[in-house]
Symmetry: C2
Subunit: 433 residues, 2 copies
């Protein structure tokens, strides 16, 4: 088995001529051959098409055309995002053979940057909560998290060096933390959702997963709609006072987060406890309403006509959305707008980043996709969040911190995470498979 490369490392070797895209492609495919039967991260794989891309990019390099740090990098794309001439299954039975006639905007940008699209990674049905076939590569009885289950599991196995994912509640951060990979959920609106199945458009985000914050920055640079000005990076982290508001923390995560706090503090990072705005109290309730009504608006009629194509959890979500009154929804919309203003103003001057656990604990059993309680508020806020592994549970499952940045300060958040990564790098054990 080849060594485990980050995008940044692979790119340096490709650029220097020490690694050809076709070799890197075959290394990824070896890992797919080795792990896929147990992990089931992929809804669709395209060996021939991907190999052809790898050959073309190898030839391009030989003709002295180097596209940049994604040149020849194999990626996976969540199966609610269109890739030309691959099905966009969306976790639906009926749509499993629905081929896309065009790349989604974010995929088009990755291709232009030289990425190799290996295939489509498993999503829960319609990017909701029903458990997928995918298993956690660190423990096959555990969930990889959802809904971007396949993206997280595939990156964790090194089947691909990065992946596109999406989040409406906690669908990027949760699986990334359960699988021990780094993820960025950008500011709402920073990445085009054209060509992506909606769940609730007011909350839907396209984001990235990879093995390091540097890699996430490379991926985000390719798909973001516009760059923002550089900002000062301060080694400062805000801890929400009312962490209890998120829900109960498992002891192993409480311990890992405390260690993270101590380690960073001894390395010149400053921490500050901070109170979230009062409107935070109703976020969980209204987030669910926006998500349910969004799902009902898109799926409602089809759900009534084709109930057999909707598993239990997403069915319940749609039913809840269909039953929501317009008056309740109007209150939710008002709260949503108010909370976004409140949270933007809640950052103290000079402090740009919140830090929380990324999940209540390590990945639970595979009959659930885990609890998005730490993530959903930030999908609702629309603020950028980054998930970074900080330790391991006794069973050898990853534990991560979630960093939350100011609106449109995605680049600053990525740089801060790169610095944290350098400060407290964690040892990554070999996969137990």
């Amino acid at each position: 088995m080849s060594e485990f490369l980050t995008i940044h490392e692979a790119a340096a070797r490709i650029r220097a001529g020490k690694l050809r895209p076709i070799e890197l492609f075959e290394q990824c495919w070896d890992r797919i051959d080795r792990y896929e039967a147990q992990v089931r991260a992929w809804a669709y794989l395209d060996y021939d098409g991907a190999r052809r891309q790898a050959e073309q990019l190898t030839q391009e390099w030989q003709r002295n055309h180097y596209r940049g740090p994604l040149h020849g990098i194999p990626l996976g794309i969540k199966d609610i995002i269109d890739v030309f001439d691959m099905p966009t299954g969306c976790g639906s039975t009926l749509w499993a053979t629905s081929f896309a006639r065009a790349d989604a905007e974010c995929v088009r940008r990755l291709r232009q940057a030289g990425a190799i699209i290996l295939g489509k990674t498993v999503t829960t049905a319609y990017a909701s909560f029903d458990p997928p076939p995918t298993r956690n590569p660190w423990h096959l009885e555990r969930t990889p998290g959802g809904s971007s289950s396949g993206s997280a599991a595939a990156v964790a196995c090194g089947m691909c060096l990065g992946a596109l994912a999406t989040q409406t509640g906690g669908s990027i951060t949760r699986p990334a933390s359960f699988c021990g990979v780094v993820s960025l959920k950008p500011t709402w609106g920073r990445v085009s959702v054209t060509g992506v199945l909606p769940l609730a458009p007011r909350l839907d985000h396209v984001g990235v997963m990879a093995s390091s914050a540097t890699d996430c920055a490379i991926l985000f640079d390719a798909i973001r709609t516009a760059p923002t000005a550089p900002r000062r990076i301060r080694q400062r982290l805000l801890e929400p006072n009312d962490a209890a508001a998120f829900g109960l923390l498992e002891p192993t995560m409480a311990e890992a987060f405390a260690t993270f706090r101590t380690t960073t503090a001894t390395r010149d990072w400053h921490w500050h406890n901070h109170t979230l705005p009062p409107s935070f109290a109703d976020v969980r309730h209204y987030h669910y309403l926006l998500m349910a009504v969004g799902a009902a608006a898109y799926h409602g009629e089809r759900f009534q006509r084709r109930p057999h194509d909707y598993p239990p959890s997403v069915s319940q979500l749609i039913r809840d959305g269909l039953q929501c009154s317009a008056a309740d929804y109007e209150r939710a919309l008002k709260h949503h707008a108010q909370f976004q203003t409140d949270i933007d103003h809640s950052f103290p001057k000079g402090w740009d980043t919140f830090a929380t656990p990324a999940a209540p604990g390590p990945a639970p059993s595979a009959d659930t996709t885990g609890n998005p309680v730490f993530n959903a508020p930030w999908s609702y806020a629309g603020l950028p969040t980054l998930s970074l592994p900080i330790g391991w549970s006794r069973e050898g499952l990853p534990l991560s911190v979630q960093l939350i940045g100011r609106r449109h300060h995605d680049e600053q958040l990525l740089q801060l995470a790169q610095r944290l990564e350098a400060t407290c790098a964690i040892i990554r054990p070999p996969l137990p498979l």
Copy 2:
């Protein structure tokens, strides 16, 4: 069998409460039951979904909500145009079960106007020239024309009262004339192509088919992107001098066209022979290049990977496009721009409409889709064209005239056709099936 209604007639009855949408829907379905096994006009039919739409629109009318002349009108949609939760097969084997996740813009507008979508009408593979399974309802050994084969055949049978179609060469006008229905290919750009499979975007048009020019005006009104100012309607028709440039005319069509000329002339229509601009001579050649290169740009890579999913004619088109040099293509682009200017300036003052045969003759045998030679120049010009039945061949096949209007004068062209329709209405015999 119920009587044969136009959209205009059905709308009057629905509005007056003399016909309920659900009744009209069932009448159409009776015709589908009767003719579809022989005619094969449909790639996908959705009885349950359409019935539900008909019930909703019936209830709406009962609650005194009348949407307008498409309220409760059953339509067919060519199978390269997306309809939510129906497959967009595009005449491809691999895409036959590819469900659309959203309505194309033109379909969305029809739905808002109250139309009932019965299903998807057969297209030739990728809207090119390979013969489809559909047969001409006037003679089952003959072609319905292509590529909008199913739309023309379904309207001719009264399975639906109107249909969406598309044209890149002669794919609206030709099947409309072979099947004896009225069609409008609007000015290029007047109807959105969002959600429509491209063949050659510089030449692709979305248009409509129905049983009368009035019906086409109703359909066009719903899907056009912006209305234009009313214009004076003059009973004047220009006949191109160099009709021979189009190709050989079969005697039956020559006769029908001469009769049309005589009949209209005796009823105060003025005719004038007119010479087309010199750049017309190269139109056929460059139209083919633009179409081939457009097809190659979209399908090229997929064609090389999945040759089995491309039948012979479209394969040849794509191969020709792949072999075209950039220099030849640049000449084609230059000619295309020049010809559009030339043709716009070629209308004499006070004369707004050309008239030609819609095809060299009646529908040929079903192993071809017929000759688009009279239509392709106007797809290339981007001018609006309208196809209107003017007679019958000895075998009982329809013969049509093609009217060509000034750019963006689609509404004027429709009104002129309505006046012609009133002037020389042709008797429509019962279908021989």
